[in-house]
């Protein structure tokens, strides 16, 4: 009986939280008009969220690409198909690894930072202070960060995939002797801009909306103590990871299933 009770309680609490989170999301959307006249708020957040994640993404992408290159050559050479390395690296990155890994890294770096920042602002009453000054913190603090996250992650995913493809070239062509011509030409023949690249971008846009929403809401909803903030930050990273992988499955099935 106790198990059922706890299950029911957990479900109710989760639904209530989902409800609050949805109201929060719609309130964010209503803030866009306010920001049209205040682009500097968004630019500042683009710096904090996007520019500061740049090197993390590029270097990670490079190494992932290099590993793909190495593993690819080892595996493909058993079929005598090293020339297809370009397709393998590019397809893996553009369709899957680029959007997903960059989203996971983003959740860990930018997502957790956002949650901690907003939680701390809540704990030090900065959000309440703003409300009493008749300035809506949703519009001034939260919405710029949402838009910045929405713009940054797809750009970062593109950077990740590009770095990875170059990394694959570095490992496969320069280090292991695959022919550079086949690397690029086979890739170009097989990767379709709309089916592969655009689908990858759509994936990262979906991830961007979800991760930034989770990060901002967990901070906004956090219990304003140091323990509460640390738990909220953990929840951001963990929940983002689950959601990314779940939606990746969903989107892959929808987008690539028809082939």
């Amino acid at each position: 009986m106790n198990l059922l009770q706890s299950l029911g309680h957990v479900s109710l609490v989760s639904f209530a939280k989902l409800g609050r989170a949805s109201l929060f999301f719609f309130a964010l959307l209503r803030s866009f008009g306010y920001l049209v006249t205040r682009p500097h708020l968004i630019i500042k957040q683009l710096y904090a969220i996007g520019v500061l994640s740049f090197w993390l993404i590029i270097i990670s992408g490079l190494f992932v690409g290099m590993v793909l290159g190495l593993q690819g050559v080892y595996t493909l050479s058993t079929f005598g198909a090293e020339a297809s390395l370009g397709i393998m690296v590019a397809a893996s990155l553009v369709r899957e690894l680029g959007p997903v890994v960059s989203a996971l890294l983003f959740a860990g770096r930018a997502g957790s930072a956002l949650t901690a920042e907003i939680g701390l602002m809540k704990a030090t009453e900065q959000l309440a202070g703003m409300e009493m000054m008749a300035i809506d913190p949703l519009k001034y603090i939260l919405a710029p960060r949402f838009i910045a996250g929405f713009i940054s992650l797809p750009l970062l995913a593109l950077l990740f995939s590009s770095a990875g493809i170059l990394g694959g070239h570095l490992a496969g062509v320069e280090l292991l002797g695959v022919d550079t011509g086949s690397y690029w030409s086979q890739m170009q023949a097989s990767i379709d801009f709309y089916d592969d690249i655009v689908n990858g971008i759509i994936k990262s846009i979906v991830f961007a909306i979800l991760i930034t929403w989770i990060a901002l809401f967990e901070g906004y909803d956090a219990i304003p103590t140091s323990e509460g903030i640390s738990r909220a930050t953990t929840r951001t990273v963990v929940n983002s990871a689950f959601i990314i992988l779940f939606f990746d499955f969903l989107l892959t099935a929808i987008m690539f299933g028809s082939h």
Binding site: I43, L46, G50, V94, L158, L159, I197
Partner: protein, 153 residues
Amino acid sequence: MIHNKSLEILVGLFVSISIAALFFMALQVSNFNGLQANTSYEITANFENVSGLKDKALISMAGVPIGRVSQIQFNPEDYNARVTLQIDSQYNQLPSDTSASILTAGLLGEKYIGLTAGGMDEYLQAGDSIELTQSSLVLEQLISQFLFNKSDD
């Protein structure tokens, strides 16, 4: 609100590099040719068997890509498959007795349509149909043919 000039420059750099990455992906990595005004015209071809041929499969002539398959339909009148071929407009001088075969690219590769020129002076126009077609090879039929021939020995 006083904002740092260098902050804006860095953000601008970030966005530009990302857009450059997008162009890199589009041009170097994929077969993007959407910027060229690609007009095309459509012709049809009837095949007995198109198994393995897919939508958007390549159409090539002398090994050069000249178009894509836009539609594959079952024709209930003659129980054949009717394939709609979308040929780039610049290749508008295909003789009207051009033949179409369904071929395989590489060993495990995908099916594509190869066109071979005939000798007529008239050219295929939009809506025309290719008469001479060669269906795709079905493995089972090949094997049964081979066995049949073998049994003659």
